[in-house]
């Protein structure tokens, strides 16, 4: 087992455990913190895959901006003090079972196919090498092939801002 593999398993385990803790925490603030940890783990995966730009962007945007926004809202509403009422046990159980079924059925697909499908046999995600994740090639592609979506996304942000302000007004 070389270091990449150890890192991969460690980061995967971290991500899964943190995700579970997001689910299981009673305090919303704890959930947010665990989610931030998940993002860190995923960014670690990105770095492992040499997608450096995305790793940084993930950290900055997701963990930095979005989670902080969540934190603000939670603190604004003082939710840490609230007790969550007991939800209908059946709904919880059926939710877990439904999700579990989903997981099992999809994993089953891959499991059945991984040794027979030509799409999956012998395919390896290239770790550490390859420079498409570097900011240079990525930027080149973004501003040449994908410039239209790029511009439109700015419009999207504008509308989101306006929408957020309008919705949040006190009237």
């Amino acid at each position: 087992m070389d270091t990449t593999q150890i890192l991969f398993w460690f980061l995967s385990g971290l991500a899964l455990v943190s995700a579970l803790m997001v689910l299981l925490s009673k305090n919303p603030i704890h959930s947010i913190l665990w989610l931030i940890l998940v993002f860190f783990a995923i960014s670690g995966h990105y770095v492992l895959l040499n997608a450096q730009f995305l790793a940084i962007v993930n950290l900055i945007v997701y963990a930095g901006a979005i989670m902080v926004l969540f934190l603000f809202v939670v603190m604004l509403m003082n939710l840490s003090k609230e007790k969550e009422d007991q939800k209908n046990v059946w709904m919880k159980l059926s939710g877990i079972i439904a999700g579990g079924c989903f997981l099992i059925s999809t994993c089953n697909v891959i499991f059945n196919a991984q040794s027979t499908s030509k799409e999956l046999v012998g395919k390896v995600a290239l770790l550490k090498e390859g420079n498409i994740g570097l900011i240079g090639p990525l930027g080149k592609a973004l501003f040449s092939d994908y410039v239209v979506p790029f511009e439109i996304s700015s419009v999207l942000f504008l509308s989101a801002m306006v929408g957020a302000v309008v919705i949040g007004k006190k009237d």
């Binding site: 593999q5 991969f8 995967s12 991500a15 899964l16 995700a19 997001v22 689910l23 919303p28 959930s31 947010i32 989610l35 998940v38 995923i42 895959l49 997608a51 730009f53 962007v57 993930n58 945007v61 901006a65 979005i66 926004l69 969540f70 809202v73 509403m77 939710l79 009422d85 939800k87 709904m91 919880k92 939710g95 877990i96 439904a98 999700g99 579990g100 997981l103 999809t106 991984q114 999956l120 395919k123 390896v124 995600a125 290239l126 390859g130 498409i132 090639p137 990525l138 592609a141 973004l142 994908y146 979506p149 996304s153 999207l156 942000f157 989101a160 929408g163 957020a164 302000v165 949040g168």
Partner: protein, 111 residues
Amino acid sequence: MPIQYYIYLALALFSIGVIGVLVRKNAIIVFMCIELMLNAVNLLLVAFSKMHHGVAFAADKTSTAGIDGQLFVFFIMVVAAAEVSVGLAIIVMLYRNTHSVDVNFLNRLKN
């Protein structure tokens, strides 16, 4: 790493997100689980992009095959950010009107 591992990892994270949406009743936590789902998908996309790149890289060291996946992830993040802002504004409005963020309170669509 064989691609199956990434697929399994992403599926696991995704289904944890699904269970979170179904089980939790705090609207904010639900929202967060949606973000978790999105991230699982992002991870998988990046893994696939590297998979394709790996195939092309073996042939030609200067090819940029598979860059689309990573750009797509970029745009997903863009959209997620916008969505979060608007969604949280709505939740704040909800809290202002009902002083609770319980999802079960939102049953005006009933009957």
